[in-house]
């Protein structure tokens, strides 16, 4: 039962009126956005306590239709708030995930018996960790998986006739992203030319492609990128040579991935090796999309960043619609080209732009 207050309190509240001047529109707007420093917020709150006029302005300036700024939890789907139904779904889902993870792990051990040895012999000093951390190629249409695990990355690149798909790794990432996508555009000499699939996987972790890169170069090195399994110059040379000689498909663009922990990674070799890409500190990303050099990443708290130079530099984009900025968690980002794109929030709202994020429409 909702609380009630004595009538005496209600009467006194009605009789109250502010003593001093009213906060200006800047303060009221910043208050509504939660952008006021405590030193200013407290007096504004004191004023609002006593001033029905200003409370009215704040309330009217926050129309129901522009509810984008509400916290993600406020508009959670009904079923997620219905406890019995929620548990009824959650328990089987967890059980299913555990089962899939176990099966996946067994499968990986069967397929990649020498995975650790392979990484270790590749010259990396952190082989045990890398074996668990780096995404594993599960090529649906690529050469045999056992071969892949034992091959040198360059050989794999040369022999892969189709883009590899990235799937989940049992122990290190959720299995909800089992759907794969061909994320690499084959070069002109590639026998198979496929349209990039724009249906990205943003559940658990997100994968995206593509961009033009030179193998071996560490783009954006100044941004603090670090290779998970770095390609040596020999790897690069071998990859290029193998590609040019065998007519294999070098990835024309990088693949992008957001890890479960919210970090952004890119891969130039069909996901065999990943390097982290720094966007901004303390940023929890949840989705990525790329088209050519344009890369968009979205994360918690409405954080949306765009890079027009394949991840070297990032610019924050604040979607605003009906006067309210997006503050919800972004769970999916889709950009079909440099201009048109959409983002989906945790509450299911879709924000659409047709001008590179300059203006947004909420649906």
């Amino acid at each position: 039962m909702m609380a009630c207050i004595p009538e005496t309190v209600r009467r006194q509240l009605k009789q109250s009126s502010p003593a001093g001047p009213h906060p200006d529109e800047n303060l009221l707007a910043a208050f509504a956005e939660g952008a006021l420093a405590e030193s200013l917020r407290t007096p504004v709150l004191k004023h609002l306590f006593a001033c029905t006029a200003c409370r009215g302005v704040v309330a009217v300036a926050r129309p129901e239709v522009a509810s984008a700024a509400q916290p993600a939890f406020a508009a959670a789907p009904f079923w997620t708030r219905w406890a019995p139904w929620r548990w009824a779904v959650a328990v089987p889902a967890v059980a299913a995930l555990v089962g899939i993870a176990w099966i996946g792990q067994m499968e990986l051990r069967t397929i990649f018996p020498a995975a650790r040895i392979d990484v270790a012999t590749a010259g990396t000093g952190n082989a045990p960790q890398l074996a668990l951390q780096r995404p594993v190629i599960r090529g649906e249409q690529s050469p045999g998986k056992a071969d892949l695990a034992l091959q040198h990355p360059a050989n794999f690149l040369a022999s892969a006739s189709k883009p590899a798909a990235v799937a989940s790794l049992g122990q290190s990432r959720p299995l909800t992203a089992a759907k794969s996508r061909p994320a690499v555009e084959p070069r002109a000499n590639s026998p198979a030319v496929e349209e990039p699939d724009t249906d990205m996987i943003n559940t658990g972790f997100a994968v995206s492609g593509s961009r033009e890169v030179v193998f071996g170069a560490s783009p954006g090195g100044s941004l603090g990128q670090s290779w998970l399994a770095p390609l040596s110059p020999e790897d690069v040379s071998a990859a290029v040579a193998a590609n040019s000689g065998a007519g294999g498909a070098l990835p024309a663009h990088a693949e992008w991935m957001v890890s479960p922990s919210g970090a952004l990674y890119e891969s130039f070799d069909h996901g065999a090796r990943w390097q982290s890409v720094a966007v901004r500190e303390n940023l929890a990303l949840r989705a990525v999309s790329s088209s050519g050099d344009d890369v968009w990443v979205g994360g918690n708290g409405g954080m949306l960043f765009h890079s027009g130079d394949a991840g070297r530099h990032w610019t924050r984009v604040v979607p605003v619609c009906n006067g309210l900025a997006l503050a919800e968690d972004i769970v999916r980002v889709e950009f079909t080209d440099g201009n048109y794109g959409s983002i989906i929030t945790a509450t299911g709202k879709t924000w659409v732009t047709a001008d590179q994020g300059e203006t947004w429409e909420m649906r």
């Binding site: 909702m2 609380a3 207050i5 004595p6 009538e7 005496t8 309190v9 209600r10 009467r11 006194q12 509240l13 009605k14 009789q15 109250s16 009126s17 502010p18 003593a19 001093g20 001047p21 009213h22 906060p23 200006d24 529109e25 303060l27 707007a29 910043a30 509504a32 956005e33 952008a35 006021l36 420093a37 030193s39 200013l40 407290t42 007096p43 709150l45 004191k46 004023h47 306590f49 006593a50 029905t52 006029a53 409370r55 302005v57 309330a59 009217v60 300036a61 129901e64 239709v65 522009a66 509400q70 916290p71 939890f73 406020a74 605003v320 009906n322 006067g323 309210l324 300059e358 203006t359």
Partner: protein, 328 residues
């Protein structure tokens, strides 16, 4: 070093003279320079010195004279400097700035106005009216004064525009309310209904004082929640959005505030000689005779704020919020 104790009038004088190193920003030249770069003010031909003066004005407006360099740094580093530069460039009549402004905000202006007015035609009228103000059709002393000059960048420009809309809408309805019957106005926008007038009758002084003390003991945020929920009839979701809290958190706070108020008042009544039964009876009674003026209790706390951050009294003392739109 920053001269936090320097009179505001001196800072204003600096601004008028267009000096490049305003007093409040002393020692922060590097930050100001970086903010100038970030703002992109140069592409709107806004000189660094003028930009610096704008920041100085804002610091003087929101911070007390004794505020230190750290406070000034915190304030200006959180400003929406890009939007601030855009707004000031528009106010100065820069064509390219207006192009950018219209590209970014025109559609939002109309949508926001329509949402606030709850009517597309009315919203368009409201937006056109505001647009004229933004452009500066109102001339003072022969000069064009744009409302955009009052944007300080402390919040987003879109949020500011929305608040300006809301203010204009509230003012407009108030003006119309002088001619329209209250019932009609309630139908128009329940958020802006006029609460019934309070008719003072006889007073139990003990209950009056106890209630006043209990209300005065509330934290500003609790007071805001209390007034918004019980007086304005806002929903828990609305209050949660305003305070960036979880809806369930606000729900629990409402319960706690109500319980705490009741306990404080009862304790105060007991300390004033009432029996427990009498105190409970007084709390349950529909008291329509209280004449406590909370204004005096709130005046002290409100006046602690820098005067520059607050404007003059609003147009009308009439409450713009419904007595209880939730229909309770």
């Amino acid at each position: 070093m920053i001269s936090g104790s320097q009179p505001a009038t001196a800072a204003a004088g600096d601004e008028e003279r267009g000096e490049t190193s305003p007093a409040r920003l002393a020692g922060l030249e590097t930050l100001v320079s970086a903010l100038y770069e970030t703002s992109g003010a140069a592409r709107f031909d806004l000189p660094a010195a003028e930009f610096s003066n704008i920041l100085n004005q804002i610091a003087a407006k929101y911070l007390p004279l004794e505020a230190g360099q750290a406070a000034v740094r915190e304030l200006i580093s959180k400003l929406h400097v890009e939007e601030l530069a855009l707004a000031r460039a528009c106010a100065a009549g820069h064509d390219r700035a207006w192009e950018v402004f219209l590209t970014r905000y025109r559609e939002c202006l109309y949508q926001s106005a329509a949402a606030i007015a709850k009517d597309e035609a009315l919203g368009r009228e409201l937006a056109d009216s505001l647009y004229a103000d933004l452009y500066g059709s109102d001339s003072r002393a022969g000069g064009r004064v744009s409302k955009l000059t009052s944007y300080t960048g402390i919040g987003s420009l879109a949020g500011w525009l929305s608040t300006v809309f809301a203010q204009a809408h509230v003012n407009r309805l108030r003006r119309e309310s002088r001619w329209a019957p209250l019932e009609e106005e309630n139908d128009d926008d329940p958020r802006l209904a006029v609460p019934p007038a309070v008719t003072p009758i006889a007073v139990d002084r003990r209950l009056e004082h106890a209630t006043g003390e209990a209300l005065a003991s509330l934290s500003p945020e609790d007071g805001f929640i209390l007034a918004s929920y019980f007086l304005d009839g806002q929903t828990l979701a609305d209050i949660a959005r305003a305070l960036q809290l979880h809806e369930s958190t606000v729900s629990r706070r409402v319960e706690k505030i109500a319980a705490r108020l009741r306990k404080k008042i009862r304790d105060a009544l007991l300390s004033r000689g009432m029996s427990r039964a009498q105190a409970e009876e007084a709390l349950e009674a529909d008291v329509r005779d209280l004449q406590v003026n909370v204004r005096a209790r709130l005046r002290e706390s409100v006046q602690e704020t820098p005067a520059g951050a607050f404007s003059k009294q609003r147009e009308s003392p009439v409450s713009p919020l419904a007595a209880n739109p939730r229909g309770k």
